[in-house]
């Protein structure tokens, strides 16, 4: 809870919010990952890259949360 000066209007606007667009768009671009090769630990690209997008999502939301609270 940040205490603010009285009179200052609150808002959830921040340039950092644009970072949230990345994990929303990335997993929807099928041309990035719709292939079998290269495999990683036996996983086709289709599976390991999409699982890796979870980390992108976590990183972006964490950064936005920390920078805007």
């Amino acid at each position: 809870m940040t205490t603010r000066e009285p009179g200052q209007t609150r808002s959830d606007r921040s340039p950092w919010n644009w970072l949230l667009v990345l994990p929303i768009v990335l997993p929807l671009l099928t041309f990035l990952f719709n292939a079998d090769e290269p495999r990683l630990l036996g996983f086709p690209l289709f599976y390991w890259l999409q699982i890796a997008f979870i980390a992108v999502g976590v990183a972006c939301t964490t950064i936005v949360y920390r920078m805007t609270r």
Binding site: M1, L20, V58
Partner: protein, 531 residues
């Protein structure tokens, strides 16, 4: 009992333990008086980050998901993996939206999304429409949780409906007594069991099957051998658009379900919600692994019970694990059904109480009366869900849930966009909702499922050739329906405004959307609870 005795004993024991916890939950973080919706229906609106993580995670990732997603991957391959991008996209998508919903709900004491719509647009009719949509979308979802339990029971060789009735009677009793505190407490056990089982499965089973590489190769060989062109371990030209729109459409729909909002509104401040948006993807990782169990079942040559592909994962566990651990895995799925079923019935009951009972039947309802009505309705909802399974073909619940996703999306302009703009006219929102609903139904009606021998309501993949386009591509029906909804809502808003039809009054003000715990306007609803 036919070689499943150990499994059955462990399953029953764990089930009884969590049932006991459900009843004890009424004393957990005990309020002075549980007889209000803020206490019974939202657990005191005071849950911190950890409880919220378990509660919302336990609520969104249901037993049915754990059974149906790998079953879909088993049958169709890559398309079934849509559940992963869906649950990656959803959290950044709702990050800011849910914080606003929390603030405005806490300033005004809203319990349901329809409460918000009523205050924002000054329209009891629009609120009723939103509430009814929520009820219709939630009911089959509850019934589906029973399908999850049934899949496990079937795999243990138990047939007949009596065990399901007993399980739901116990669930109904402790939900009645403890409200949202029951699933919140049980979620700890449920999620811990699920994490243990799945992590064990993805380490142990591939080791037995010769590694991940050979699992994917076996799946590829199976799909290459089938005549169906759309299956495979990667997407085809025809189903890529379906994959993307299904993932995005499902993500947009998820937090419109009343039961998802219940967990969010029960948290104690905006920070708890935002931290959870960063932490909940841990479940997405789990779901991705669970989806891959479908490929493991292919590699292991697992056969479902009869034609019910939902039993494929329980059968895989039975085939691969020692009996005692299979029992633990079955219990994880069974208990996994109880948490969402409880939250969904509470959410449905709250909708009825706040937006039908209080709006139309008893305008002067006290807090205690509201809690009483909600408790009774939560029982009615569960009886309804059991009857759905007993009297109707379970396939009917699955179809209804599919329709449910499409129709809940039609509340997006009022509920989600309403948090950002008051531009829409209440009449325009109702018109958009009706048009989206009609378009959605029409599209679902046109979708056949040759594999199940159905001519209508056979899935959510709408073929664009129905619109006269010369392409084999399909698209998620809910997504197109939402587009229709938005276009009509905009046009009708302009028309209503041109005709000078009265606007409703907006009871909220701009700063309400950013209020946080500790602000003078945010009511401290639970002064008595132990912190």
């Amino acid at each position: 009992m036919n070689g499943h005795t150990t499994e059955l004993v462990i399953f029953t024991l764990l089930f009884l333990v969590v049932s006991g916890m459900g009843f004890v939950a009424a004393r957990w973080r005990r309020p002075k008086d549980i007889e209000s919706l803020h206490e019974w229906g939202l657990g005191g609106r005071n849950f911190g980050s950890w409880i919220t993580w378990f509660l919302v995670g336990g609520d969104l990732y249901t037993a049915y998901t754990f059974v149906a997603v790998p079953a879909l991957v088993f049958g169709a391959g890559a398309l079934g993996f849509y559940a992963l991008p869906y649950t990656v996209v959803v959290y950044p998508l709702v990050f800011l939206v849910l914080a606003r919903m929390w603030s405005v709900s806490h300033v005004h004491g809203f319990v349901t999304p329809a409460d918000f719509v009523r205050a924002r647009f000054g329209s009891p009719t629009l609120a009723l429409v939103i509430a009814l949509t929520g009820l219709v979308a939630t009911m089959p979802y509850i019934a589906l949780q029973l399908v999850g339990i049934e899949a496990v029971l079937k795999a243990m060789g138990i047939t007949g409906h009596l065990p399901i009735i007993i399980a739901f009677a116990i669930l109904a009793a402790y939900t009645y007594q403890s409200g949202l505190r029951a699933p919140a407490l049980i979620a700890f056990v449920k999620d811990t069991l699920i994490y243990i089982v799945i992590l064990a499965a993805v380490i142990y089973i591939p080791a037995k099957l010769g590694g991940w590489g050979s699992i994917f190769d076996a799946a590829k060989a199976k799909f290459d051998a089938t005549p169906a062109p759309a299956d495979g371990i990667t997407l085809t030209a025809a189903n890529q658009l379906q994959y993307v729109t299904l993932a995005l459409g499902s993500a947009l729909a998820l937090f419109l379900y009343p039961h998802s909002l219940t967990g969010v509104l029960a948290s104690k401040n905006r920070g708890v919600i935002k931290r959870n948006m960063a932490a909940l993807p841990a479940y997405s990782f789990l779901l991705g692994l669970i989806a891959l169990l479908g490929f493991m079942a292919i590699a292991a040559g697992t056969k479902p019970v009869g034609t019910d592909t939902n039993t494929i994962i329980p059968r895989l566990f039975d085939q691969m694990f020692p009996d005692w651990f299979t029992g633990v895995a079955y219990a994880a799925v069974g208990i996994g059904a109880l948490v969402p079923a409880a939250i969904m019935s509470i959410a449905a009951a709250n909708l009825f109480t706040r937006n039908i009972y209080r709006e139309y039947l008893n305008k002067q309802a006290t807090d205690a009366q509201e809690a009483k009505v909600s408790k009774l309705v939560s029982l009615v909802v569960k009886v309804g869900a059991v009857l759905c399974i007993l009297l109707l073909d379970p396939q009917f619940s699955i179809d209804l849930q599919l329709i449910g996703g499409v129709i809940i999306l039609q509340t997006l302009p009022a509920v989600a966009l309403g948090l950002y703009t008051r531009w829409f006219h209440r009449g325009g929102l109702i018109a958009g909702w009706a048009a989206g609903l009609a378009a959605g139904m029409w599209m679902l009606y046109l979708i056949p499922n040759p594999a199940k021998g159905k001519a209508h309501f056979g899935g959510s993949a709408f073929a664009l050739k129905n619109l006269g386009l010369d392409t084999p591509m399909t698209v998620y029906a809910g997504f197109l329906a939402l587009a229709v909804n938005l276009v009509v809502a905009v046009l009708a808003t302009l028309a209503f405004r041109a005709a000078k039809v009265a606007e409703g009054e907006d009871a909220t003000s701009r700063e309400d959307y950013f209020a946080d715990e500790g602000d003078p306007k945010v009511k401290d609803l639970d002064l008595s609870a132990a912190h």
